[in-house]
């Protein structure tokens, strides 16, 4: 078993990073926050040029890997567009994308877009999004649902896993920014990076990030190989992603100091826009609860069974 993305997917991810940078990079999320209705025009063209909507994440393993790589690159720039959610769209419904929603107050990062959406609950109940509430922070809007069927069990895993790749890209960037910051900033006559206390915090964050990265690849493989426990693996990934994000952003903010809370730094934007990914459809304890309910008696199947 190879738990890494193929070379083509990795190269596609690198191309996407460069393309998002050329399209405006960190400016994109700032412009979109000022005018959420611009999200489509800010991010749509570059995604089309990258051939994002030609990727088949459902039936083609290469397409699935490319989709994951694209989401990671989108996260790196906090691209103000639900790339993962678009790429997770079901093939048998005429919609542009899919969001996984909680049973209570279903919502997603779909504010300000004209796309059509399907939603799936963790139990596999599928709906069409028939109406949108007011746009909230982080482009989140509550959605009104009109039930379609309960055939969505197979949609849940992909719908959970791809946004975790977006979050992974955000963690990549947060760590990169922080390493750059502590390598530059001097206090007490030396760069912060020379303090072992600083190094150890970063190493703890990196351990979390790498744990998430390998689980993200594992959960993707689980989908690619049609394993029956793909949804359990996706939930386990999601739990790990939320936990890793807490550690990584806490360390990155701490080591940036006060400036990390100012919108003059990219970290401030990144951590703000990581919130919906960390909170929706379920936060940490609810995710853990769901996972425990599903696999509590038997545990996860894992790599070596």
């Amino acid at each position: 078993m190879i738990l890494d993305l193929g070379d083509d997917a990795k190269e596609y991810g690198r191309q996407a990073l460069r393309a998002f940078e050329a399209a405006g990079g960190d400016q994109l999320v700032q412009q979109a926050e000022a005018k959420p209705d611009l999200r489509e025009s800010l991010a749509g063209p570059v995604l089309s040029e990258l051939g994002a909507w030609d990727l088949d994440a459902r039936t083609d393993v290469d397409g699935l890997e490319a989709a994951a790589a694209l989401c990671r690159s989108a996260g790196y720039w906090a691209l103000p567009y639900p790339v993962a959610e678009r790429l997770a769209k079901p093939t048998d419904l005429d919609v542009d994308g899919l969001i996984v929603v909680a049973d209570i107050r279903p919502s997603g990062v779909v504010a300000g877009l004209e796309s059509t959406w399907a939603a799936v609950s963790l139990a596999g109940v599928r709906s069409r999004v028939a109406g949108y509430g007011a746009a909230g922070p982080g482009f989140v809007a509550e959605v009104e649902l009109s039930a379609v069927d309960d055939n969505g069990a197979g949609d849940v895993a992909l719908g959970l896993v791809l946004p975790c790749w977006t979050l992974l890209g955000m963690l990549d960037r947060a760590l990169e920014l922080t390493i750059a910051h502590v390598s530059l900033r001097k206090q007490f006559g030396q760069t912060l990076s020379a303090f072992q206390g600083v190094q150890f915090q970063l190493t703890d964050a990196e351990v979390e990030r790498s744990g998430l990265e390998i689980l993200a690849k594992y959960a993707l493989w689980s989908i690619a190989t049609d394993r029956p426990e793909a949804t359990d693996d996706a939930l386990a990934l999601r739990m790990s992603a939320i936990e890793a994000a807490e550690v990584v952003f806490r360390v990155c903010h701490q080591l940036h100091g006060a400036v990390g809370f100012c919108d003059e730094t990219t970290l401030s934007w990144l951590s703000r826009y990581s919130q919906p990914l960390r909170r929706l459809p379920l936060g940490l304890s609810a995710t853990r609860d769901e996972l425990t309910r599903r696999v509590g008696g038997t545990g996860l199947t894992g790599l070596f069974s």
Binding site: G136, P137, F188
Partner: protein, 394 residues
Amino acid sequence: MYENSPESRTQAQFRQQVRAWCEQHIPPDWRQSQTGVDDDEFVRFQKSWFAELHSAGYAVPHWPREWGGGLSVPEQIVLYQELAAHDAPRLVLAFVGIHHAAATLLAAGTDEQRRRHLPAILDGEIWVQGFSEPEAGSDLASLRTSARRAGDSYVVNGQKLWASGGKHADWCLLLARTDPDAPKRKGISYFLLDMTTPGVEVRPIRNAIGDSHFCEVFLNDVEIPAANLVGAENAGWQVAQATLGAERGLTMLELAERLGNAGFRWLVQAAPVDDPVVADRLAQFETEITGLRGLCRKVVEDSENRTVGPADASIVKLFYSELLQRLTDFGAEIGGMAAHTRLAKPMSSGWESGSWLLDFIGSWEWTIPGGSSEIQRTIIGERGLGLPREPSAV
């Protein structure tokens, strides 16, 4: 000494008196009416609440009697407990004035400086701290803002950062370098700066929760009369220690009490308590809050008895800030969608407003200012545990 030990008769009477006052004077709807208000209304409310407390003798209980305070330490503890228990608005705007400025003036100010400023603070004069700089955060002593003596004045040039509440401030506690050739802690002086002086420019900085309470202050050929020097020239570092010391003790006790009252109450109200996972976490938090309140109380009492340990204040700050982060995180987690979509908190609350996402993001700044967690850990290691100093810079 502990919560359940019988209070003295005077303390019990005082508690009754404060309770009765709280019930009559704390605006019951202040959380609703202050949610999302603009700056002008925030300042108006803060000043009127301060005046209300002052008229009862509760605004500056820790000041000496001759300046308008004079409550005993046990009474101060009772006061903060009751204000927190009755969910009083917090004195956000007056904070630097009644704590840092007053502590500085009382410890090192001249009689004239005290007469000029202590009554003015009681009348609503607002202060800001001008310590940190772009290149001097944790390493405050490396600050570069310069003050050059010119006749009866000093001419100040430089830039200050993270001046919380700077845009509303009348006066600033300013550290500036008066001897560029001296070792870095020995060339710093402490000034009182009138914020209306020509050359002072305040620029609010928008932060991650969308407000702008911390500011940059630019100082361009600003003249400060020599009479506004606090302590001796080049002895500002020692004076600053008195100011920074004021952040501990009672101010931490107040925050711990607020966390134990309103903060925990919002959490319980938001929580599905019949869920065993949630109940388990709540029990853990309750235990930690109880520990924190006990620790704060001990630091206050030990400070009064001069038996406080060299690392005790650092332990309290580390305990509070890290607990606050975990607790507000849990609040955001169990607060559901409402916690994420209602991004307006009641102004004049503390870090326990119940707007969980804002509280959570706001809580992160607690491990950074006033001595970051790294600095606190170094103090606990070196001064508390007697471990060797970290190897110095190469």
